[in-house]
């Protein structure tokens, strides 16, 4: 990890001092020791704040939406999943590729901060949920790659296990499961605000006329919000797992998104989101011989 950190700092210092980029987006150490946070570096001498460790979870591509007005190019560090976020934003015409200098980091897989919370530094820590069966640890788009590509390790994932368990349940049981999860939702919108696939100018949930989503926190409004968001990001979700990590009340949101990803792959044979910026999203295109299972 600290070998990548050294390379990050040298690259960033070079880019900033040479004036090639106006801003570098990376991560820096947060508090406690199992937290890292996004860092916005625009001066050469600050690059020593940059770090890469097993807790650099944040998908930095989402910030590009705020930085459209920055003159000059923006450099940002991306793991495998983050890089797909950039393709997503390019696909949605939110960001121009030439404004970015993308530095890819082959990702060794990150650790679960909640699991680390009870432990000391150096203890054995569980893999983060999203990294357990990650299929794209190597960035899919980059201008510079820091280090060799890593092999894709085939591992089991708790999310996939939960999906299979849910699929075997009877409808009433499944409904109770999700009703209990959504009844805990605080409606803090961390899942929406951190998601790179959620980049509408004005979200349907914020509109007052018509008021699709009310302000009350009850099961009905929460269900409407999560189901609508699941459908809206279907075919756009890049499995960066940030929504699930950001959720303060541990709602297994990736079991929602991953289910739709599995269905899209099974029904339409579409490849996952964010791999090819030129391709349209699965629900934004069609094939004449699409299946007609029940119509």
């Amino acid at each position: 990890m600290n070998e990548i950190t050294q390379k990050m700092r040298e690259t960033a210092r070079g880019l900033l001092n040479s004036g090639q980029v106006a801003l570098v987006l990376g991560w820096e150490k947060g508090y406690p020791w199992y937290k890292s946070a996004p860092a916005f570096i625009d001066r050469g001498e600050d690059v020593d704040r940059l770090v890469f460790d097993e807790f650099c979870h944040n998908n930095l591509s989402k910030y590009l939406l705020d930085l459209v007005a920055v003159e000059g190019r923006i450099a940002l560090f991306v793991k495998g999943c983050d890089s797909r976020g950039i393709n997503r934003l390019i696909q949605d015409n939110q960001v121009k590729r030439e404004q970015l200098y993308i530095i890819g980091i082959p990702c060794p897989g990150l650790k679960d901060p909640d699991d680390a919370a009870g432990k000391k530094q150096g203890d054995e820590i569980k893999d983060a949920a999203k990294c357990q069966d990650c299929r794209y640890p190597n960035p899919v788009v980059y201008d510079l790659l820091l280090g060799e590509k890593v092999p894709v390790a085939k591992r089991s994932s708790e999310t996939q296990a939960l999906i299979e368990r849910l699929e075997k349940m009877k409808p009433d049981e499944r409904y109770e499961f999700w009703a209990e999860q959504f009844s805990r939702c605080l409606r803090c919108y961390a899942c929406r605000n951190i998601c790179p696939a959620c980049n509408c100018r004005e979200c349907v949930f914020d509109r007052a006329t018509p008021e699709w989503l009310g302000k009350a926190n009850n099961l009905i409004e929460n269900q409407f919000m999560h189901l609508t968001r699941a459908i809206h990001v279907a075919g756009r979700c890049i499995e960066c797992g940030e929504c699930e990590r950001a959720c303060p009340v541990n709602i297994p949101l990736m079991a929602l998104n991953r289910k739709l990803i599995n269905d899209i792959e099974e029904l339409f044979g579409e490849e996952p989101a964010g791999l090819d910026p030129e391709k349209k999203t699965p629900l934004g295109r069609f094939e004449l011989d699409d299946p007609e299972k029940f119509m």
Binding site: K35, A37, P38, E180, C188, Y189, A216, N218, P248
Partner: protein, 332 residues
């Protein structure tokens, strides 16, 4: 000091729940929260809960009045929530102080919030001493004593094998007397709180902040903020609310619900003018309110050092780091 064996605490709460509606800390699906007492569930006393007890007095969604329209006529029917004797068991010093802050907001300055007052007046607070500070706890730095909760009726102390009880108010005395038969005298000493991992010096911050409205630091620290409401909904002292309604045909009800100054449309007015249009103003306003404005208005900080926002913020916005930056900032 009166005490009860730790193994028999459940028995005390069972008795108490016959006379009061008891709330106690439980773990639900990995989330610590205050919930009504239930015999078959195990109490969660190792750490403070993630969701603060403020929603017992200030629920996230609370119906205020029902209405019915018939043509141009209108009927309004206030919703009276029943008065019920309650006890919150296991409230920590940080949350007890937050209730004190909420009391100042809802019960002072010329208007009393009837909904809050009705619940607050019928609730006894049983404080629970902390012996182990969490990674993100810093209540001592905010001038609080983890063993001594402010404004509680009864203080529970950790005596190792037993829970010790010390009454702080007449109502607390009443509680002890009512369940005296379950308690017995002991002279065991309370276990002191371990060393805090997180410390911050908040001396002089409110005064200095009042001169830092245009300081460049706000631009810098607000860039990573996502503008979600997680910090404000987990915060035990945040009390902003919105008023909205639900209509079904000619009937409906008006309710109030939590709102967050971090949302973009929080201060947006009809016609589009928004005094706090970007993240910078909103992040600045939140820290200014907690560390400066509230002190100017009510004479105390609006941050109790519970550390929930620091623990759960998806971008690790750290209020203690902001306080340190304020202390270091040069201001004329």
């Amino acid at each position: 000091m009166l005490a009860i064996d730790k193994k028999r605490l459940n028995e005390l709460l069972r008795n108490m729940s016959r006379d009061f509606r008891v709330y106690a800390p439980y773990l639900e699906n990995g989330t610590g929260k205050f919930a009504p007492y239930r015999e078959d569930r195990e109490l969660y006393l190792e750490m403070n809960t993630l969701l603060p007890p403020k929603d017992i007095f200030f629920p996230q969604t609370e119906k205020m009045y029902r209405f019915r329209t018939a043509g141009s006529a209108l009927e309004i029917e206030e919703i009276e929530d029943k008065k019920e004797k309650q006890v919150i068991f296991g409230i920590r010093s940080c949350d007890a102080f937050s209730i004190d802050c909420l009391d100042k907001v809802f019960l002072s300055r010329g208007y009393e919030d009837a909904f809050y007052k009705n619940k607050r007046e019928n609730t006894l607070l049983v404080g629970l001493a902390c012996t182990a500070a969490g990674d993100t706890c810093f209540c001592r730095s905010m001038g609080l004593n983890p063993q001594e909760a402010v404004g509680v009726d009864l203080q529970v102390l950790d005596l190792g094998e037993e829970w010790g009880f010390e009454a702080r108010t007449a109502a607390g005395e009443g509680l002890l007397a009512r369940y005296r038969d379950l308690l017995r005298e002991t002279d065991a000493a309370p276990i002191p709180t371990q060393e805090f991992k997180l410390k911050v010096d908040v001396e002089g911050v409110p005064e200095k902040l009042s001169r830092m409205f245009d300081h460049p630091m706000w631009e810098e620290i607000s860039r990573k903020c996502l503008g979600c409401a997680l910090c404000t909904y987990l915060c035990p002292t945040c009390h902003c609310f919105d008023v909205s309604g639900k209509v079904k045909g000619e009937e409906g009800y008006r309710f109030r619900c939590w709102d967050s100054c971090m949302f973009s449309e929080y201060t947006r007015m009809a016609g589009g003018h928004n005094p706090r249009p970007t993240k910078k103003e909103r992040v600045r306003n939140r820290f200014m309110h907690k560390l400066c404005y509230f002190v100017e208005r009510y004479g105390q900080l609006l941050c109790t050092g519970c550390g929930r926002c620091l623990a759960k913020c998806p971008v690790n916005m750290d209020i203690t780091a902001v306080i340190r930056k304020i202390k270091e900032a040069e201001v004329e």
